[in-house]
């Protein structure tokens, strides 16, 4: 085994160099300066308790605790992120496979999709998609008035999965926008992963008589996964952050509701800072989780 040969001891650098001191000093000085500006130059009356009220609301009489706008926004963002990730992954894998397929039609189709999305700014894409495409398709599928179609039980489940049912068509439009948009980037990640595997692997696998499907599934994909995983994880985290753009089409997620809070209270510094922390709290665990996955995945590959 590879472990039998003793490794040379790794020398860990623990000394603080002059450069480190300089960097730390600069950071501290910047923070102090910002604090000074905020405290003495910026005319602003901070009122954290008022804005925190919009996180959770405690009923003064019964003492019951309700999630308020911020937490409702977080819930909506998580729904968008969860479904968005699933759909974007499916789109990305299918389109990624199309990108490397032998059929000219599939190749061109997937290329068109990727280039179209990648060369349009997300905000423009979302407006075009929402007002011209989704407002035609969704009523056509009868998804705009779901309250009349489904039983109360189904609606209760849908409320947990997709948020308020009366805004379901809006949610769906936002979700599809997000998934189609992120799917294009995942497509490229998948394509790059597959193409990173040397031609020799394909030829060798075909030579021992595996079909194209089996070559992909048993030979190429397990190796490609190693290349795909890190950028894919990054893309999923990007998806969570990008979900904020659907606030433009009035999906009631964290960014949209923060606008509501900041407009109502006019304490928008507090509101946006809280929102920044909330987004961080959603994305950072994902980053840690994917890091674990990566290590775990690579560990398995060794054997």
């Amino acid at each position: 085994m590879s472990e039998s040969r003793p490794r040379p001891p790794v020398e860990k650098v623990k000394r603080v160099t002059r450069l480190d001191v300089a960097i730390i000093a600069t950071v501290v000085a910047t923070l102090v300066y910002i604090y000074y500006r905020v405290e003495h130059v910026l005319v602003y009356e901070w009122d954290w308790p008022l804005v925190f009220e919009y996180m959770i609301h405690i009923d003064e009489v019964t003492g019951e605790i309700f999630p308020n706008l911020f937490l409702k926004g977080v819930a909506m963002t998580l729904r968008l992120a969860f479904w968005g990730t699933l759909i974007a992954a499916v789109i990305g894998i299918i389109m990624g496979l199309c990108r490397v397929s032998n059929s000219l039609f599939l190749k061109l189709g997937s290329r068109l999709y990727v280039e179209l999305i990648r060369n349009i700014p997300p905000v423009v894409f979302i407006f075009v998609f929402y007002f011209f495409i989704s407002s035609q398709i969704i009523p056509l599928l009868g998804l705009d008035r779901i309250e009349d179609t489904y039983s109360p039980g189904t609606l209760a489940v849908m409320r947990v999965l997709f948020g308020p049912t009366e805004l379901f068509d809006n949610f769906l439009a936002g979700l599809i926008c997000l998934a189609v948009f992120e799917g294009a980037y995942i497509t490229e990640i998948v394509r790059a992963g597959i193409q990173s595997i040397g031609k020799g692997q394909w030829e060798a696998a075909r030579a021992i008589g595996l079909s194209r499907y089996h070559v992909l599934r048993d030979v190429i994909m397990p190796q490609a996964l190693k290349t795909i995983l890190p950028p894919l994880a990054g893309q999923f985290i990007t998806l969570v952050k990008d979900s904020s753009i659907v606030s433009l089409i009035s999906v009631q997620e964290l960014t949209f509701l923060t606008q509501d809070v900041s407009n109502t209270t006019t304490h928008f510094f507090e509101a946006w800072m809280i929102t920044a922390v909330l987004y961080f709290m959603m994305c950072f665990p994902l980053a840690v989780l994917f890091q674990r996955f990566e290590r775990f995945g690579l560990g398995i590959q060794k054997h």
Binding site: V41, V43, F131, N170, I249, N263, T264
Partner: protein
């Protein structure tokens, strides 16, 4: 003579067919009105945007405000539920046209440009634009002094205030923001000389920062007419909503609600700790 008879009878036949068709068309028009849709659905879908004191969130996160009262009463009088669809202001007209909701009750001022795209009812409120300025930057300025090249005026984009600012102060440079709160903060911080926004917000804000801000004039800079906005081609709905406003203007209900939200601040404890 025969030929002439045939000709006349043909015209008559056409006329009959045509009038039948026209009758059917006007019936169709009535049944296609959004009013029928609302009654069938059992709910009125109202597009609105957060804007103090028209529509805002109380401490429980519920919507309150002048508009919320108005829309709720409209729905009550129609015998249906009310559903609010909070919508980003810059996209509220496209969203109406894309049938995301039935009507905009959102403190929207009538402008000829907007009116080319949507229909407006009779006005249900007459608000004005007020101006609030930074004392340090603009001490002693009269209204006309703000019309100078070195003056910056902040306002919310895509809305009446920016247009008003452009008309009244053509020489000043405009700083456009997505929200009123940001425009206002620019003035408090001294990055803009003044900001323009719908009454009574500037006056409320001045009260929050005594000694920092002043109002160059107590008069409103402009007077606007706010109305419900509807999709074009629906005379029945336009007639209904307009007359609802006429009735509720005559009986004083609209004025009473308007005064409550705009002239007093007794509702403020629903948002802030006093």
């Amino acid at each position: 003579m025969k030929l002439r008879n045939i000709f006349v009878s043909m015209i008559a036949a056409f006329a009959v067919a045509f009038s039948a068709l026209a009758g059917a068309a006007s019936q169709e028009l009535a049944s296609e009105s959004v009013l029928e849709e609302i009654k069938k659905r059992g709910s009125l879908r109202v597009g609105m945007s957060t804007f103090v004191p028209w529509a805002m969130r109380d401490k429980q996160g519920n919507l309150i405000g002048f508009e919320i009262d108005v829309a709720s009463k409209v729905a009550e009088d129609m015998g249906v539920e009310v559903e609010f669809i909070p919508t980003a202001w810059s996209g509220i007209i496209p969203a109406l046209i894309a049938r995301k909701f039935d009507v905009i009750i959102g403190g929207m001022s009538i402008t000829p440009q907007r009116n080319l795209t949507v229909n407006f009812t009779a006005p249900y409120a007459h608000s004005g634009q007020q101006m609030v300025a930074n004392i340090e930057l603009a001490e002693g300025y009269a209204v006309e002094d703000f019309n100078a090249a070195d003056v910056t005026i902040a306002c919310r984009r895509g809305a009446t205030p920016c247009n008003a600012a452009q008309e009244i102060f053509p020489k000043a440079s405009l700083a456009r923001f997505d929200d009123d709160a940001q425009a206002f903060q620019e003035v408090v911080n001294g990055n803009a000389h003044a900001m323009i926004s719908s009454a009574p917000k500037p006056r409320f804000w001045m009260g929050n920062y005594p000694g920092k801000l002043f109002m160059p004039t107590d008069e409103n800079l402009t007077t606007g007419d706010e109305a419900f906005a509807l999709r074009k081609g629906d005379p029945d709905a336009l007639n209904f909503f307009s007359n609802w406003i006429v009735v509720n203007t005559s009986n004083g209900w609209l004025k009473e609600r308007h005064d409550f939200w705009f002239k007093t601040q007794t509702w403020a404890d629903q948002i802030e700790e006093q």
